[in-house]
């Protein structure tokens, strides 16, 4: 009798085993993301000599958000004597997107919080693109309601149950809850704190932050140390802060500058008409929506699939100019552009391969640059996973997960019935040594990634494997600059932001962290400077 009962139990537990054994089909999909082969051509840098030479007033290198923003600023100022060279076949960089039969979906950055009061340049762009449609009687911006993230926003799987929101609540001891509240109260006070210079302690763009040393010194310690010093010991609080740091910086609290870590919580004070400060702006294709809008306005001046491999500042007959040599991936032709100004909007680590004098003598700040690698997977589903009492949200996170969880690409579409969907799983590779993490990530096959991704999703939805129809794995080797302790307010970052003869720089790595507003700010600022220089002479 007992044997029969145990047979039944064995039968039940065996279902899953048998199911995985019998139904392990190979899931189709591609490896996409940054073209490492193209980037790695730069390391060898043995390109042919140019076969033709053209002359253009300004060259923008790189078509991510900062390069596109620089180009867009030129166009807005009726300046068209420029060209943007992009290494990939499509512009967008970290904000790229793709599309399949089900929906457009992001390959990287995918949302923007309400703009903070200092984000004036971004606000202007939002107005021009129709993201902000006007202002109400309190002068609050009216965000286009189609772009504000629909309810429900976020849910967290913790202690075996889903809860609303990402701040741990379900099954959390009261003492931890209290500590979490204390921390959030503290950082929310910091939002309004101003330094001697009457600037907010933490602002976006970060250059608008107060330079008061009492805030800047937070850059000298790690977030972990800061928490310890302030007697925050709750492991749930630590999980939440660590989650936020991994999400925005691709780093864990052990290494991240406390200034950057607190900036995440204390800088955002955006408001909108009839929406909450925690609302965010998003599209099915993520920030690819902005990329496509910007690209549509500048594409006449844009060349894709061009590897810039040499930039040489020249001085002939007392005249300053610069050569930019690029290799055309398709035609394999090499072209030399004689130009007056350059906006270097590619990530800075590439500049040691392209700028001739830096190839020989690396600048002093070079070894301070560290970038975190990311894996972003887009998982197509024949059906959305079954929901618990807390419904499928825009952002879905597992407390015990290794990734950051997934976002639902079809969340913003207005169809009242859509069974098929695409989930975008975000996974920062936060090993202490980014180089190792990068090598490891690139070494894995599509199938290896697929099985890790399924394992990760399976922990949230046991039925998920049978729903998956495709997985595109997107690897970003250098996704985000890492705000290591000391990087934000150190001399190195200050030095790297100076222009180098005719070369002006624009990239979020100059801010020390990778967010839309910073990339956009750097792009606009660089193009404004170049316009001014060109006008002066």
């Amino acid at each position: 009798m007992i044997s029969l009962a145990s047979l039944g139990v064995v039968g039940i537990s065996g279902i899953k085993f048998l199911k995985t054994t019998f139904s392990s089909k190979r899931i189709p999909g591609r490896m996409i993301g940054a073209s490492f082969d193209r980037g790695h051509l730069l390391i060898k840098n043995n390109f042919e000599k140019p076969t033709r030479e053209i002359e253009i007033s300004t060259v923008i290198v790189g078509g991510g958000i900062s390069g596109l923003s620089a180009a867009y600023t030129f166009t807005q100022n009726n300046f068209f004597d420029y060209i943007l060279l992009e290494l990939e076949d499509k512009v967008g960089g970290n904000s790229s997107s793709a599309e399949n039969k089900i929906t457009p979906f992001p390959l990287g950055a995918h949302y923007i919080p309400l703009l903070s009061e200092e984000s004036k340049l971004a606000k202007k762009l939002f107005e021009e693109l129709g993201i902000i449609e006007g202002h109400d009687k309190h002068d609050l911006p009216i965000y286009n309601e189609y772009y504000v993230c629909s309810d429900p926003h976020e849910r967290l799987l913790i202690h075996g149950r889903w809860q609303n929101g990402l701040i741990p609540e379900e099954g959390i001891p009261e003492t931890d809850k209290k500590e979490i509240k204390e921390f959030l109260d503290k950082v929310s006070e910091l939002k309004n704190l101003k330094g001697k210079d009457n600037k907010r302690a933490f602002a976006i763009p970060m250059e608008e932050s107060s330079t008061d040393s009492k805030f800047k010194k937070l850059d000298d310690i790690s977030m972990k140390t800061y928490l310890k010093q302030n007697d925050f010991n709750s492991k749930y609080l630590e999980w939440y802060i660590n989650y936020c740091c991994r999400d925005d910086f691709g780093m864990t609290i052990e290494n991240i500058s406390a200034w950057a870590g607190i900036h995440y919580f204390a800088a955002r004070n955006g408001k909108g008409s009839e929406i909450s400060t925690t609302d965010i702006i998003t599209w099915p294709e993520g920030n690819g929506w902005i990329v496509n809008k910007l690209y549509s306005k500048i594409k006449k001046n844009c060349l894709n699939g061009k590897i810039v491999f040499n930039i040489e500042n020249m001085n002939e007959d007392g005249k300053d100019f610069t050569y930019v040599d690029y290799y055309d991936v398709k035609s394999k032709a090499v072209t030399r552009i004689k130009t007056r100004k350059i906006i270097y909007a590619a990530p800075r680590f590439t500049a040691f391969r392209t700028i001739k004098s830096w190839r020989v003598n690396r600048p002093s700040w070079a070894n301070k640059l560290e970038y975190s690698p990311w894996m972003v997977a887009n998982i197509s589903l024949s059906n959305k996973p079954v929901s618990s009492e807390i419904p499928l949200s825009w952002d879905n996170v597992n407390f015990d997960g290794r990734s950051l969880g997934y976002v639902v690409a079809t969340h913003q579409n207005l169809k009242s019935k859509q069974e098929k969907s695409v989930l975008t799983l975000y996974w920062p590779l936060t090993d202490r040594d980014s180089r190792q993490a990068r090598t490891k990530a690139l070494g894995k096959s599509h199938q290896q990634w697929t099985s890790e991704i399924i394992k990760e999703l399976d922990a949230m939805h046991p039925e998920i494997e049978s729903l998956i129809t495709n997985i595109d794995v997107c690897l970003w080797g250098h996704a985000m600059i890492k705000p290591n302790v000391g990087f934000i307010w150190g001399n190195e970052r200050e030095n790297m932001n100076k222009h180098f003869n005719n070369i002006y720089f624009a990239h979020s790595d100059m801010s020390g962290f990778s967010i839309f507003e910073e990339a956009h700010y750097r792009g606009v600022k660089a193009s404004e400077k170049v316009l001014k220089e060109l006008n002066n002479g």
Binding site: L4, F22, Y146, S150, L414, K415, S416
Partner: protein, 496 residues
């Protein structure tokens, strides 16, 4: 060895009872009236076991091989019984014949088991010992099955999987017997081969029964199902008992006995108040019943009906029973049917209408909740002239008071005037609507004669709200808060 055979008695007994319980549960599931179903199933099953016992005397040769074959057959037929019955339920004209055939066959085979086994064991025990042992174990097995079935197997495995699992046990007993009596058996390889074949089949059935269940989800309807089809958007079920009922995803949409109340109330208070209405827009309402009411106005020239599901509009255009209910309204030359998502269709449509009817399902989930947001109503406002009226079904102001008023407050928040009203629909309960417009709405006095429910008197009553349904303050429903779905869940959660 004989101990082992006795253990197989326990397994056989458990299996036999489980098949009976599966048939009983399945019959009451699908046919309703569980007392009748269980009682008849048990009777027929026991009777069939009697047949089996009777027939057993004709088995004279190859006792052991026959026993093994019986095990395999019981395993196979019992194992697939639930699945086959579920899958064929919607496709056979007389389900009962199929059901009782299964019961008779399984019962007969199970009836054969014990007599055969006792004869196999007869030389190993004294007669009184044998009888005592076999029946004791048989009844213990029965107890075991009857307790485990409702507590463990039915809830955790479901009927289909339970069937397969016990089929596997039966076949295993057969295979085990082959192993033990290998020497006494002639042609054991053939037997073993067929046993293993059946075992593999059952294991596969067990693993993939969920996928099969997907096609066979025929539960929870009181009346016989006369139509059942799944479109890409929803599951459409029509049942016919005393009345005709339409269910979408298991939720009652109307009953033919009182739908006129709902649809007359949805259409006439608004439409009768418009002078010479010509262009009408209906969102949702693929059943054509609101259109039926609208067609009573001769001045109407064009009705545009936007319903997501082509299956809905198709069956209400072609099925005789349904077209007689909607008086063939969807086949009218005045009607244009557009199968698109209303939200997306509206974003690209700037035409103005004299009267707009919204007959969407209740905001029971976030996808449907979007159709009740400020964003959606703003789009609709662009399709309204100064004198256009809009009528919208807005769930029950009695069961879901906040939800009802939330719809109204949301419409009001985008700058339209609202005029709430309600009516009693027996199969739904108290039901609510809003008329919305840019200008003032005045109660019409020229209500169509010959309506079954709405007349001047009922009309006046509809616009009065007793205190228990009167206005409450609510938030405004927006895409980024979907507060209506939350109200709705809480309120209807309490009712159900």
């Amino acid at each position: 060895m004989s101990q082992a055979l006795l253990l197989s008695v326990a397994i056989i007994a458990t299996c036999g009872l489980v098949y009976e319980l599966i048939a009983g549960a399945l019959a009451s599931y699908l046919l309703g009236d569980s007392i009748t179903q269980f009682s008849i199933i048990i009777g027929v099953y026991l009777f069939s076991m009697g047949i089996g016992s009777y027939v057993s005397k004709y088995v004279n040769k190859r006792l052991l091989a026959t026993f093994i074959q019986v095990e395999f057959l019981v395993g196979l037929i019992g194992g697939v019984s639930a699945t086959v019955l579920f899958l064929l339920f919607e496709h056979v004209s007389s389900f009962r014949i199929l059901l009782y055939s299964f019961v008779v066959i399984i019962g007969t085979l199970v009836g054969l088991e014990i007599p055969l086994l006792m004869r196999i064991l007869k030389d190993k025990y004294e007669f009184k010992e044998l009888i005592s042992k076999v029946f004791t174990i048989d009844y213990i097995g029965a107890l075991f099955a009857s307790i485990l079935f409702p507590l463990v197997f039915a809830p955790y495995l479901g009927l289909m999987r339970t069937g397969f699992l016990f089929g596997i046990f039966n076949v295993s007993v057969g295979l085990w017997t082959i192993k033990i009596f290998k020497k006494d058996l002639i042609g054991s390889h053939m037997l073993k081969g067929s046993g293993i074949g059946i075992l593999v089949l059952l294991v596969f059935g067990f693993i993939f029964s969920n996928q099969m269940m997907h096609y066979a989800e025929t539960v929870k309807y009181q009346d016989p199902i006369i139509y059942n089809k799944k479109s890409p958007y929803q599951k459409v079920v029509i049942t016919k008992g005393k009345d005709l009922r339409l269910f979408l995803n298991g939720n009652l949409q109307f009953s033919s006995s009182d739908e006129y109340r709902y649809h007359e109330a949805l259409v006439h208070p608004g439409l009768a108040a418009i002078e010479n209405p010509k262009e009408i827009l209906v969102l949702g309402g693929g059943d054509g019943l609101a259109v039926r009411e609208i067609l009573k106005y001769e001045s109407v020239e064009k009705i545009t009906l936007v319903d997501l599901d082509p299956l809905m509009t198709k069956i209400f255009t072609t099925n005789n029973m349904l077209t007689s209910l909607n008086q063939n309204s969807l086949n009218s030359k005045k009607v244009e049917v557009i199968n698109e998502d209303a939200f997306i269709w509206l974003r690209n449509n700037k035409k103005k209408y004299d009267f707009i009817v919204i007959d969407f399902p209740d905001p029971s989930n976030f996808s449907l909740g979007k159709l009740y947001t400020t964003t959606f109503f703003k789009l609709l406002k662009d399709n309204m002239r100064e004198e256009t009226l809009l009528a919208i079904q807005s769930t029950s102001p009695y069961f879901a008071r906040k939800s009802f008023w939330c719809v109204g407050n949301t419409i009001e928040s985008i700058g339209l005037k609202i005029f709430p009203y309600h009516t009693y629909v027996p199969s739904f309960g108290e039901w609510g609507y809003f008329i919305a417009s840019k200008s003032e709405y005045v109660l019409p006095e020229n209500i169509k004669p010959n309506l079954k429910y709405v007349n001047n008197l009922t009309l006046q009553r509809m616009f009065r709200f007793p205190p228990d349904m009167d206005m409450v303050k609510t938030d405004v429903n927006k895409l980024n808060n979907q507060i209506l779905v939350r109200y709705f869940e809480t309120e209807w959660g309490k009712v159900n």
